[in-house]
Amino acid sequence: MSRRVSRSTAVVAGTVLLFLHLPVLVLVIFSVNASRYSVEWTGFTLDWYRQLPGRTDLLRGLRASLIVGSLSTLIATVFGTLLALALARRRFPGRRTLEGLLYLPIVTPEILAGISLLLLFVLLRVPLGLGTITIAHIAFNIAFVTVVIRARLEGMDRSLEEAALLLGADELTAFRTVTIPQLWPGILAGALLAFTMSFDDYVITSLVAGTGSSTLPVVVYSMVRRNVEPTVNAISTLILLVTSLLIWLAFRLNRERPLAV
């Protein structure tokens, strides 16, 4: 297969790939630069990282992000897995329509999903806080998890399940001992992606957070707007490291399917 790529095309492609990664690499490099105000390289330091544990706003944001992230991931993964199973294994009226509708939360601009949820919460007088943030994250994660797991189910061999049923296993046993073990990598990949989405989300979160409860991205956003402190580089680097690691794991688990929806 590795034929027929002209040198100029390869150079263009390499440049584009560089363009995708260079800005972030620069950010990472300068997170250990000693100079506070300029981008002159004045020597290596870990000072900006050492300052992070003293920032209570960041720590509180991190804590909120972890709570919201794990809770919304857990619930969205369960709901999404069930939804994917129903779509792949059951025949019911409106299945195709439902499948199409699932892409709606994925293509709807975040700002609209967030604003409309805010409207709902205000009308129902639901107090804004970590609870409403979690509800919102579950909503946008369900669709992603379902799509990832659905893809996995598509490529799965059904004959094993059928064999189990023929050999006398009831549906629940077949599901527990045959389907789930086969599906496990897909479920895990879906969960990792859901956590990453939750951990990264700013737009929807900031709208339904109310005052007083901020997740990590909300805190970082206000730091970025106020600007210039090198601690932003340090925290950004850490966020990048964590999310890249999660994505790498998800990618390993779901090797056959590129993680695009």
Partner: protein
């Protein structure tokens, strides 16, 4: 059915119902504190026809379209190389990674490069190419760069998916029949990659239309896009019905783009089956 219930209920209650509520709010009166009051009206949609708001809409569409075009020009060669490469998995991972890593952090990376004391300016100053820092941040250029940088992976992946299925024998045949590389590209590769190109354009255009972070952080107060307008109406300006109407103008543009892309796809399929 019980498998469906929790997910469908959740999405219905916390995704679909809110959107319908917003649709309702967009045709109701504005209350005293900016909230919604009973009574039907189209005044908010009419208000959107003010040149001030039409300009925001036009700017949004124009930038999203331009970003889509640039992404296509950059994404096509990259997708082509990945589809033909031995290191497909690694390259694919390198494209997927920014697709999922923090959008906020990546936007901050652009700020870090472009601001007056940023890396680009200090390099230019040092090389003596400019005598004082260029204003790069808070310009249309910065927003466009941010959009392209942010959404490029959305273009590469679908094009890659359709190029991967392309049978190299077709290109060999074209070559043996005497087609030059450019002819091979325009008459064989590109037509076969069309479904991916259409999908990629939609996947970049739609989120670019609805972008908020990019224009907020890189565009500043002067380069407002419709997402920022909506957010502003719900927060500081406190006119919820008008904000809802502006949202549905955006929905209208998104739907138009989706319908157009489906039309193009169906036409291709109809031609393919003939």
């Amino acid at each position: 059915m019980s498998l469906l219930a929790p997910g469908v209920l959740w999405l219905g209650l916390f995704f679909l119902v809110p959107l319908l509520l917003m649709l309702g709010a967009s045709v109701m009166h504005r209350g005293v504190y900016g909230g919604v009051e009973a009574g039907l009206t189209l005044e908010h949609y009419r208000r959107f026809l003010d040149p001030l708001y039409l300009q925001v809409l036009w700017r949004t569409i124009w930038w999203a379209a331009l970003a889509t075009l640039i992404c296509l020009l950059l994404g096509l060669p990259l997708a082509w190389v990945i589809a033909r490469s031995r290191y497909k998995n690694l390259l694919l991972f390198l494209v997927v990674l920014p697709f999922w890593t923090s959008f906020l952090v990546r936007t901050f990376a652009i700020i870090f490069l472009l601001r007056d004391t940023g890396l680009v300016n200090s390099l230019l100053l040092r090389l003596g190419l400019v005598s004082e820092p260029l204003t790069l941040l808070y310009t249309p250029f910065a927003v466009l760069l941010g959009l392209v940088y942010g959404f490029l992976p959305f273009m590469v992946l679908p094009i890659f998916a359709s190029l991967e299925k392309l049978d190299p024998a077709l290109l060999e045949a074209a070559e043996m029949l005497g087609a030059r590389p450019s002819a091979q590209f325009f008459r064989v590769t590109l037509p076969l990659a069309r479904p991916g190109v259409i999908a990629g354009c939609l996947l970049v255009f739609v989120p670019a239309l609805g972008s908020f972070i990019t224009s907020d952080l890189l565009g500043g107060a002067k380069q407002v896009m419709i997402g920022n307008l909506v957010q502003n109406q719900f927060t500081s300006a406190r006119n919820w019905p008008f904000g809802s109407a502006a949202s549905f103008v955006l929905v209208g543009v998104v739907l138009a783009a989706v319908v157009l892309s489906l039309r193009l796809r169906d036409r291709d399929q109809a031609e393919g089956s003939r």
